[in-house]
Amino acid sequence: MELAPERAARKPEALASGVPQRLGDRVFSGVAKGAGIGILVVLAGVAIFLLIEAWPAITAPAERIPGGEGLVDYIAPLAFGTVLAAVLAAIIAVPFAVAIALFVSHYAPRRIAAGLGYVIDLLAAVPSVVYGLWGVSVLAPASRDINAWLADHVGFLPFFEGPASVTGRTMLVAGLVLAVMILPIITAIAREVFAQTPRAHEEAALALGATRWEMVRMAVLPFGRSAVISGSMLGLGRALGETMAVTIILSVSGIVTFNLISSSNPSTIAANIALDFPESSGIAINALIASGLVLFAITLAVNMAARAVINRREKKEGR
């Protein structure tokens, strides 16, 4: 007889009294605890390293920072470019990922679904430098006509203001390539959770006379919503830190603009570090590391926001 699935919330002490501590339990709990503490130590170490190395740049006078306008003016356009590229990628990738995940979990015949899932996972195995080369040598040239069309027809939107880039090495292409790169992780997470939708909820919808799409909307999507959010945030995190693809594709000029199709684009923090680090010395290196600290903070904030969103939903649903 299964009654309502309430997890027994018994305190371990109530059972532990008088029970001998078993060796296997002790070893396992020690290993688990060690791993948990270890990851915190590593994270703290990275944060401390970034802080110490960035400190000279934070305290340095404005004119000594590259650009001569101070640290904030140095990092702000980079942070803007980073967030713009990552958000663009997420906006493109999330709908595709959800659609693919639904197709694999609820629409495709089983044989096709398994194959497709495998192929999508394979996308994650391609090195990012390969994506970068593909972007700059295939996607960028191919995007030129599209850029020109966008500038002509929807140029009134700030995103497509133009003038259209002649090389195609634009923010739009960088965002597209990043979208392809983060697609697998979002798809994989969404697919797993969609497939776990309780059969009872799906049948409840169908028995009410829901079509397949209505069933997906009533039962599958609400069940998978927090997974889609956390998957998107993981993807966003990856896009924020992605280096090589952006470094190769984007033609940068350090300006702040929402224009996605012009030849002058803001760079991203990670790409900027990769480009400038070899030629930097002294305070310039500290400035680069300070930008890395900002990236660290942005990524941390994104992940914490995702956690908060998920927790709030779970509380609301009384899970």
Partner: protein, 295 residues
């Protein structure tokens, strides 16, 4: 008779509000007692398969309108499978299909071109585990079926239907102050009554119940049983139960299913008035089962 699928949809589109309870059956025969004449189901030589597995063989039975018909029998005898074939839920399992006819007031729900979605609008279902949608409020759970297929219903009218369905399920007084709270916060028995309200809110003709009390405690079970006795005024009810006292208490007709050997398809042994089945069944197998000698 014109195309069955179109008819099914039309009937469904027009039968929304309850204040005018005059289905065509009621207008043509006003002398007949109940205000809402539900529909009958007639299964003819129904064979049900899961891929190569023959699960149920040769079932023919009449399920009478505005009566409670209980399906009893040991585990694996095909009674749940048969129940699910009555609103085409059974075919959701890959490779499952039926051979034979199931007629809802003379209209074959398996006829070519019949939309299973339209069939399920007319033949609702309540499941073993209470399964309210966890992300929806109590109100939205009840309204869920009414909002399907982009049917536009104005808020006051929807409020009315939701209240009527909840009252009909004996749940209104318990939840009227927290309609916007999630349905998953209710107790098991309340959740099951919420599911009954959700299924009845769309005014189906038939209500199928697949062991609706087996996950509930005895008090909640009594509540559901008294509810069933009331619901048959408006719906035709088919209930699968493992509990023979429940079949004896709550049903008008009882059908006994059995399998000869494991691996054989389940068959209908007999169907008769519940009193007869429990006092003088025609088949010795039925007698053996109800007297507890097996199963």
């Amino acid at each position: 008779m014109s195309q069955p699928s179109a008819d099914v949809r039309d009937a469904n589109a027009t039968d929304a509000p309850l204040q005018a309870p005059l289905g065509d059956a009621a207008t043509s025969a006003p002398a007949e007692a109940p205000a809402n004449v539900a529909k009958s189901i007639e299964a003819r030589d129904l064979d049900i398969y899961y891929g190569g597995f023959h699960a149920v063989a040769g079932v023919s039975m009449t399920i009478r309108p505005n009566k409670v018909t209980a399906l009893i029998g040991s585990s694996g005898c095909g009674k749940s499978t048969f129940l699910r074939s009555l609103n085409r839920m059974h075919e959701l399992v890959k490779g499952a299909y039926v051979d034979g006819k199931v007629e809802l007031d003379g209209r074959d729900i398996y006829a070519a071109g019949t939309d299973p979605v339209a069939v399920r609008r007319q033949i609702g279902m309540v499941f073993q585990q209470p399964n309210p949608f966890p992300t929806m409020s109590i109100y939205d759970n009840v309204a869920a079926g009414l909002r399907l297929n982009r049917r536009k219903i104005k808020k006051p009218e929807l409020d009315e239907v939701v209240e009527r369905a909840l009252r009909g399920a004996h749940l209104w007084t318990e939840v009227k102050d927290r309609l916007d709270k999630p349905g998953s916060g209710l107790s098991g028995g309340q959740q099951q009554r919420l599911c009954i309200a959700r299924a009845t809110a769309v005014e189906p003709d038939v209500l199928l119940m697949d062991e609706p009390c087996s996950a509930l405690d005895p008090i909640a079970t009594v509540a559901i049983e008294s509810l069933i006795a009331e619901l048959k005024e408006r719906f035709t009810i088919v209930i699968v139960t493992h509990n023979m006292q429940q079949a004896a208490r709550a049903s008008d007709y009882t059908a006994f299913f059995n399998i000869e050997r494991s691996g054989d398809p389940g068959r209908l042994v007999e169907i008769d008035e519940t009193q007869t089945i429990f006092s003088t069944p025609a088949s010795p197998a039925t007698e053996a089962y109800i007297s507890g000698r097996f199963g």
